[in-house]
Point group: C2
Chain length 212, copies 2
DNA sequence: TAGATTGTTAATCGATTAACAATC
DNA sequence: TAGATTGTTAATCGATTAACAATC
């Protein structure tokens, strides 16, 4: 059965709900209404209820939502109850930073390997794992059941490496290279285009100063 | 005169147009029609024309758009013709990575200083610039006409630091901390919530595998 | 039971696409 | 001039918000 396709706009909001619910949970708060959540998150209560009801009825009339339950459910929707084995391609600063900064492991993203084309880096350890050469990638992906690759390579190389990774059986690419990857149906790409983001900031600063 | 507000959806697409036009320019291509751009960018020609016409008529009937001219114009719209002085708060891996990875300087974002609370880092150089202690921030921001701060600090500290930066006169914050900053009108925040992005990828992978 | 708040349908708003007259 | 392609208006589509009956 093919379920109703849920828009990416909705999906984009789920991690944010998840984050706020996590905070409420940590504060020991047991229940929350869509209106209360609306007040702290600055979105309409109506949108919250609509978004959640794409996935099921998690609340209860007259009561609201149980914080812990909803938190767990959104986690499941986001696939955080599964383990994802992940490798990083490109052992530069950004690759290293991502391993340390984002709290991968806590969310079920297990850092398994890191690869680079630069021989000077081979053997260097990142979080206890040695940088390997690209030739080992194929075998490694298959042996370790890797499903996510993090691409922090120059844009000139990104397309070719992505293609290889996909042929090895990877399911998703977290792409930090400044290119739009073309991938076959069924392969998921999530782009983090940092320079695009910075340009947006630049626009908003410039525009505001013009208005004054 | 207050101009018609342009939606963030449009703004978000501008850097992408800019990127593709830059590539065409580098290939020595002189003119492009909205249809040709549509074919390579996978957006409708209609959307391209609508988007551009928010800012003016950059094309010519029967001819299309001059690549170099349009590239320059979008650059101006994005504020890339101005210089932005920028500091980084948080000299950890991510802060360092951003300086090196994104091609800041080429786009007019001038890296002027870096600050951290960890005394062990003071004096350490990043791209030739010494890490300073947070107490110097106020004076530094004022003396160097800093308008952008890049926040790569733990989320527990982000809100307080952001507030301080704003009081020193900063105009925009590129926020990598996992919190939604509350800022006064006129201060621009651009969020890069890495963990949200990774969760989105996780959702899309899980959903696809369920469909199969 | 009465009050609260959901789940869901209906109304509105905004963004995208289509169509075509204007014009180079 | 004829052909091409824009700029722009109109039509469609989708997402958000409002309203309210269902129900805990």
């Amino acid at each position: 059965m093919v379920e109703k396709e849920i828009s990416q706009a909705v999906i984009s909001r789920l991690p944010r709900y998840f984050r706020y619910l996590g905070e409420l949970k940590d504060e020991g708060i047991e229940r929350v209404s869509s209106q209360e959540l609306s007040d702290i998150m600055q979105v309409t209560a109506s949108q919250i209820r609509q978004d959640l009801n794409n996935f099921g009825g998690f609340g209860q009339q007259g009561y609201g939502y149980n914080v812990e339950f909803l938190y767990e459910e959104i986690g499941k929707i986001l696939g955080l109850d599964r383990k994802h084995n992940l490798i990083i391609i490109g052992a530069g600063n950004l690759g290293q930073a991502l391993v340390n900064y984002v709290d991968f492991e806590r969310r079920g993203f297990l850092f398994k390997g890191v690869f680079d084309i630069n021989p000077a880096l081979y053997g260097k350890k990142i979080r206890g794992i040695e940088v390997q050469c690209m030739e080992h990638m194929n075998q490694f992906v298959r042996d370790n059941n890797i499903d996510i690759a993090v691409l922090t390579v120059p844009k000139t190389e990104a397309a070719e490496i992505a293609e290889r990774l996909i042929s090895y059986g990877i399911k998703g690419i977290w792409n930090f290279a400044h290119v739009d990857l073309k991938v076959p149906e069924g392969i998921q790409v999530e782009n983090v285009h940092l320079s695009d983001s910075l340009m947006k900031l630049s626009y908003n600063i410039s525009r505001f100063q013009k208005d004054m």
